[in-house]
Amino acid sequence: MKSFIVLFTATAKEFIRDRSGLFWTFALPIAFIFMFGLIFSGDNQDIPFEYILPGILAMALMQLGLFGAMQFLALRERNVLRGLSITPVSRAALLGSEVLVRLLTAFVQAAVILSIGIAVFGVEFANPLHEIAILVLVGAAAFVSLGYMLICFVSTIDGGSGLAQVVQLPMMFMSGIFFPVELMPEFVQPVVRFIPLKFLADALREVMSGMGADFPLAVNVGLLTLFLGCTLLVTLKFWRWE
């Protein structure tokens, strides 16, 4: 336990001192909020801000999870993890502290995004904050798990970030986080319905803004949890330290 705390502290320091990481984690979602906030303000109310905000939160959580695993991939591919195997530093504890730092960051991210929504755009939430918090946790866990699953199947750092991009870009544009899926062509709709990011975005939208979606809230949360379970199982099956 003591060694976990020590590693966790080091991992957290490492994360906080990573300027470019912080930029992607915080600056990007904030920029998106203001961009969409300004586009759809005043006369242009095609897509209400209450629709956009949960989508941006979902996107931020996905990126946090997906790209967090890339740090670990780099350690693995540079043989750092192999070297650690002969020291008393526990690699599992190192991985655990990485995951914990990500999950905690998810809450900070959510707090920042929600605060801006309230303070700048006067958003009011349909449900209490703790319900949003639970969704944030499940969503972050699901995408952290997806990230670690992906790095099981690549053996270079470039391959890892490429794969992460291939996974995240379609999810971002096809899951209706910025505009309703109904606006997309008919033939993609059946596929789009089952994009994991959509489960999270729809669930968040229902809890935060009271907007209904394709599936009821319980189904979305269930599907998201199922996705978390599946990625976790695959990760455990194919995980390698070296």
């Binding site: 991992t11 001192r17 192999r82 002969i86 008393p88």
Partner: protein, 309 residues
Amino acid sequence: MQTPCIEVKNLYKHYGDIKAVDGIDLSVQSGTVFGVLGPNGAGKTTTLETLLGLKQRDGGMVRILGFDPEKDQAALRHKVSAQLQAPAVFGRLTVKELLRLFASFYHDPLPSEEVLQMVGLQEKQKAPCDSLSGGQKHRLAVALAVAANGDVVFLDEPTTGLDPQSRRQLWDVIATLRHRGRTVVLTTHYMDEAEQLCDQLVIIDAGRIIARGRPRNLLDEHFPHDVLEFDNPGFGDATLARVGELPAVADWSRETGGRVVLHSRQASATIEALQRFASEEGRRISDITMRRASLEDLFLKLTGRMIRQ
């Protein structure tokens, strides 16, 4: 006779057709500095990594402190440390933070201040690890291995790429470890380093051991004679022939530029006799230089190649 702290029998590690380690036997006594010498690509690092269990061996037996590092890794974690690329883990931590982090995992680590002093990184203690130069990172890696304060320390080319001052500093670190009863296994392709530091050494070439022993003994065995050189003070051929008959002279020759080279079984006796002989002849020899054979010469003799080719 102590029991050996590291025992290796018939170690093999092959990559396809390449025999990186091709049947190596080692026996390292505890409390000594053991050198693995050889040119780049001779199999030194692979040997070390296989000893540590970082690479799986294809054959042979390895015992460190009585444990097999492949099977009993857990038992050795606190007792054996190695200079590795660990600084890459937390590049944004400062030197001191990283050292403290690693030290905290060991039962009885050395104080960070002391280790920083030993490797000469005190002034960099607040610098992020990522900002260090190559040589400084190297020293940090050594510092992490030293901080563990285990019984056995493996150092892989600890001084490669360091400036002369830092090299000396690391030599002091190794001497300190030895003084404290630690066992040090180091690889190097610097022959002077091996000669200075090692109690025992093996010379490896193409995955095989081509010589082993105490550095001094090895040299005495292969180069029983000291080499003396001086400028010919004007001796004629007949006089030079008599120089060749002086006490302990095994061989002599004339080099270009008027230098005379003597191979002596006992340098002091030959020098004394030479001086007396010269004054009897009414000459003065003032520039006798003595050169002892180095491990570099030995490697050349054994393989026909220079070590850094």
